[in-house]
Subunit: 192 residues, 2 copies
Amino acid sequence: MEQSPTKDRIIRTALRLFESCGYSRVSVDQIVKESGTSKGGFYHNFTSKDELLYMIHDFCVTHALEKAEEAIERHDNAKEQLRGIIRSFVLLFDTYQSHLAIFNEESLHLSREYLKKIEGKRDRYKRLLHQVIEEGVKNGEFRSNSNVTIVTMAVLGMINWIYKWYRPDGDFSLEEIADIYTDFVMNGLLPE
Amino acid sequence: MEQSPTKDRIIRTALRLFESCGYSRVSVDQIVKESGTSKGGFYHNFTSKDELLYMIHDFCVTHALEKAEEAIERHDNAKEQLRGIIRSFVLLFDTYQSHLAIFNEESLHLSREYLKKIEGKRDRYKRLLHQVIEEGVKNGEFRSNSNVTIVTMAVLGMINWIYKWYRPDGDFSLEEIADIYTDFVMNGLLPE
DNA sequence: CCGATCAGACCGACCGGTCGGTACCGCGTG
DNA sequence: CACGCGGTACCGACCGGTCGGTCTGATCGG
């Protein structure tokens, strides 16, 4: 991520503004003013406001993908792989909560070409999770009557949703949330 | 919902447009043109574009709340109450998928006063679900080491997320999804 | 004829993006 | 060292167009 300091400042400012007001409510003028640069400075570093949005999207989905692939490689059974994916995804909110909030709320504003790239990576992530769960069901690690497709979406949903309610200064750390989520996904609510 | 036909047409058109382009990318002119009315007609029925957005939000959260309260009243044990809440929430996507998509993506664009009303109802919904799970843990229907707060958010997340991927003409009906979700929430992935 | 409903021209604010210009830095040359 | 030169980073006035909202009337049922 070794970028010019101005570019970095613009991105950080934009993250904050987009997260609290929404992409389309924040003008380039506002980003420029609050990041201490100028229109010229902005368009020197980005070809358009859209490209800035794309870069924010790309940061976090790329990172998430890498972490998930790592988790799969590091373990050789579905249970541990799934635990690793959940854990790495949840921990992503430590550094990327703003990114993820924007990722989940502003994807409609990406232009077609940008959207295609992002969706490609998101689908790869989805497929990864699907494969792990599927493998677990096949080899008996997971219950055989689990519906892989829907459970995959359920897990994705419960984690993606975290950006809506997690606060770094709240009652639960991301480590704790990851543990509780894993336990919930594995065991459900009913007692033995 | 007994409204003037014009108002109804405007809302239906707006739902479609907001869902596919995002609130702030759709102009009043566009809504007006596609719903076959005029600026005058629009501003006769709504005080502002914001109010239209608020009404869309209010429709679905009010409905969801009613259904959840019904489910709780109809059953006397936490397990059935939870099943009822999940089921009624999932089935909401049948008539309110557009509403829910907008509800989840465009809440940042609500003005402060509208936002407060909506958040009040959303919090009530959250508290309802929390109470049911809490009760189940207390009376032994659910595992005692379930973390109620986080599990509540997990369940909310996995259901709210449905608007991102559910398609009425897809492989799964909402009834099936509700059943799979309930089973997943109750039993998790691991076999006995 | 009165109020409800709607038509559409119009307004002023705002917004993304452009463009001509400036400041500065490293480098080769005399 | 002085000087000029090319290139990079940045500045900010400005432009064309869009948007939410207003206003003056027209239409019509009762």
